[in-house]
């Protein structure tokens, strides 16, 4: 089925999907390079699963084309595509044994002697002794591995994973993330992974496409997305961001902004829009980049750092770090994560404090966006 000598890129050109008047996916161009681990990340209803299903052939795109390598597959039914899917909640055939589930694809393609291949596959996912069981006799994690094995045995050009870990508990999920990553490295097949869990996407994928409202908001390596979000949605959906609405004082290679009398700086290269003096800018900083000192130690802060004064509203101790919420005239509810190296007994709710951070760690976003985008929609990851 697979011909690895051909270019195995998945190429989507202008594909979109409408259901009546509702647009699930806006026209979208996307290329997934062969052999990569690609994640489509977004909240439920953002179009990520629809995009995946269009690659699988389970949904016909309203417009546009899908290419696998040089071959156009837009109108091929799923059973004629060299693409296999690991379904959400697995969709294992309840009436067939684990062995027959895994052999299903081979048998449909008319392969007679499947025993050896299936046994090898069972070994790969470490389920050798379960071959004759029925799916409902396995645990969630085992079922998940069967679903992966059932798809991989066909050596697809692309493996599609639709929230494959969504039904597992947190600990098992972490374990399966590493397992999937191992399998992907071992077999070298392109993985396209749909998830709403930003941590999962960042842990596993080489490239992440963040989707929102049927569009790709931003696409890149996990670290790049995290450090340089280009929209408020990405800033809020991936991790947490403190966003401060500020007006631009001057815009050179260093941008100077002010908010409620406090002056902040950031490099122009870290702005996703071109700031103009007199205009507005959303200034952002990640909570773990910020340091926190009691107000009386303000003088000890090195020159050139961005500083904000405020008062601790709440603090919660979570082991590796302490998370503070600081109220400040500049911005209500600034979040700060402080590593628990030496705990300062003065940092308690009600204390006056100064927040400071390296201007290099500041990013600027277009102020014409919803500051709250991506916050409410984040689902619990547990």
């Amino acid at each position: 089925m697979t011909d690895k000598t051909e270019g195995g890129d998945v190429r989507l050109s202008g594909i979109s999907k409408h259901y009546g008047t509702f647009t699930a996916v806006h026209p979208l161009d996307l290329t997934v390079p062969q052999g990569s681990f690609f994640a489509l990340l977004g909240a439920s209803g953002c179009g990520k699963t629809t995009t995946l299903r269009m690659i699988a052939g389970l949904e016909e795109p309203s417009t546009g084309t899908v290419h696998l390598g040089d071959r156009e597959v837009t109108h091929l039914p799923p059973y004629k595509r060299p693409v296999n899917t690991v379904f959400q909640s697995y969709a294992l055939f309840p009436h067939l044994s684990i062995f027959e589930n895994i052999a299903f694809g081979l048998r449909r393609r008319g392969i007679k002697s499947v025993k050896k291949q299936v046994e090898e596959m069972l070994e790969l996912v470490q389920l050798g002794q379960f071959a004759q069981r029925k799916p409902h006799q396995l645990s969630g994690g085992q079922q998940q591995r069967v679903a992966v094995a059932r798809a991989l045995i066909n050596h697809p050009q692309v493996l599609l994973l639709d929230e494959p870990l969504g039904a597992l508990d947190l600990k098992l999920r972490r374990q399966m993330q590493l397992e999937l990553k191992r399998i992907q490295t071992e077999v070298g097949i392109t993985f396209v992974h749909v998830t709403h869990d930003q941590e999962e996407a960042m842990t596993m994928a080489d490239t992440v496409a963040v989707m929102n409202g049927g569009r790709v908001e931003q696409l890149g390596a996990p670290a790049e997305l995290y450090e340089n979000p280009r929209t408020t949605f990405v800033a809020n959906f991936l991790g947490t961001s403190n966003l401060i609405e500020a007006s631009v004082e001057s815009a050179g290679s260093d941008v100077v902004v002010s908010a409620s009398g406090t002056t902040l700086r950031l490099p122009a290269t870290r702005c996703s829009t071109t700031p103009r003096a007199g205009g507005k800018l959303l200034v952002g900083v990640r909570p773990e980049k910020v340091s926190l000192v009691p107000a009386e130690e303000e003088n000890a802060i090195a020159a050139g750092r961005n500083k904000i004064t405020g008062r601790i509203a709440a603090s919660s101790f979570i082991g590796v770090s302490t998370q503070f919420v600081v109220d400040s005239p500049v911005c209500a509810e600034l979040e700060v994560y402080v590593q628990n190296i030496e705990r300062d007994a003065r940092l308690v709710p009600g204390a006056e404090v100064v927040l400071h951070w390296n201007p290099e760690h500041t990013f600027g976003l277009d102020a014409a966006q919803d500051m709250e985008a991506g916050i409410e929609t984040v689902e619990e990851s547990a």
Binding site: A56, G57, L58, P77, P78, Y79, K80, V83, N84, T85, F87, Q88, S89, A91, L92, F93, P94, H95, F104, G105, R108, R109, K134, Q137, R150, A151, N154
Partner: protein, 268 residues
């Protein structure tokens, strides 16, 4: 304090429930006991003396076993037809979006929400007006008609609870439409189809009212019993009734036992 009264109050549900069960089983007991009767007159309503005559010669009454065979034949054919037609409708209703869904749903529901006699009478009106000879075929047509809705309801319930992703998974794993249906859809929907078929068989085999109107001179087993209630009830009727009861209970119990054993055999 445990007085008889509190005991009674605690077990009221059990006592009432078992009382109802007794009420439901009593006629079967009577049918069984009177299959060993040797009645004095034509009617087998009063106990005379113990006899095995009827059991030794179950087909000793003219036409009875013939009518039984006819009923089985009609039940078999109407089950086959109603199951095939009803399963197709159930799949269309669950798996596809189309115009007139509401109308189709109502059309399926109406035969179940109507006194049987209304359908029986209107079918007779059709056959009379069209000048169709009443008999085997009119009975079969009528039975397929009223069994159809029950099959749709049974299969629909099963298909509704079936994960549509299973079929997608089959298609994703190189099974074409026919293969997907044969290898995945049909095996998973089978219990619902079987339930619908069993119900059809029971309904058709035991149907009286619609058959009464549309059978002409053809005599099914319920028609035979009805007629004998006027002319005289042979003991053999009770023999057949008892045998049917025993066979049914044994089959169901065996089925349950197999099911239980299978459940126990599954390690987890």
């Amino acid at each position: 304090m445990r007085t008889p009264l509190t005991w009674l109050r605690r077990n009221l549900v059990v006592i009432a429930g078992l009382g109802t069960l007794a009420y439901m089983i009593l006629p079967n007991v009577v049918v069984t006991v009177f299959s060993f009767n040797n009645p004095s007159g034509r009617f087998n309503y009063a106990w005379q003396e113990f006899s095995l005559d009827a059991w030794k010669d179950p087909c000793g009454v003219a036409d009875m076993c013939g009518s039984l065979g006819l009923s089985l034949q009609i039940a078999l054919w109407s089950t086959l037809a109603a199951t095939a037609l009803g399963t197709a409708i159930a799949f269309a209703l669950v798996r596809y979006r189309f115009r007139a869904r509401g109308a189709v749903n109502s059309l399926i529901f109406l035969p179940m929400a109507m006194p049987e006699i209304v359908m029986a009478a209107s079918l007779l009106a059709l056959f009379l007006n069209m000048g169709i000879q009443l008999g085997f075929w009119t009975i079969l047509i009528a039975h397929i008609m009223f069994c159809l809705s029950f099959v749709v309801a049974a299969v629909k319930a099963r298909v509704l609870s079936m994960d549509p992703r299973l079929e997608e998974a089959a298609r994703d794993l190189y099974a074409g439409p026919v293969q997907t249906f044969l290898r995945v859809t049909l095996p998973i929907a089978a219990p619902g189809i079987a339930a619908g078929a069993l119900l059809s068989f029971a309904l058709s085999f035991d149907d009286f009212i619609i058959t009464n109107f549309n059978s002409g001179n053809t005599v099914t087993f319920p028609m035979f019993v009805w007629g004998s209630a006027q002319r005289g009830t042979p003991v053999q009727i009770n023999v057949i009734g008892t045998a049917m009861f025993v066979i049914a209970v044994l089959v169901v119990l065996a089925g349950q036992m197999v099911g239980n054993r299978r459940k126990k055999a599954q390690p987890k």
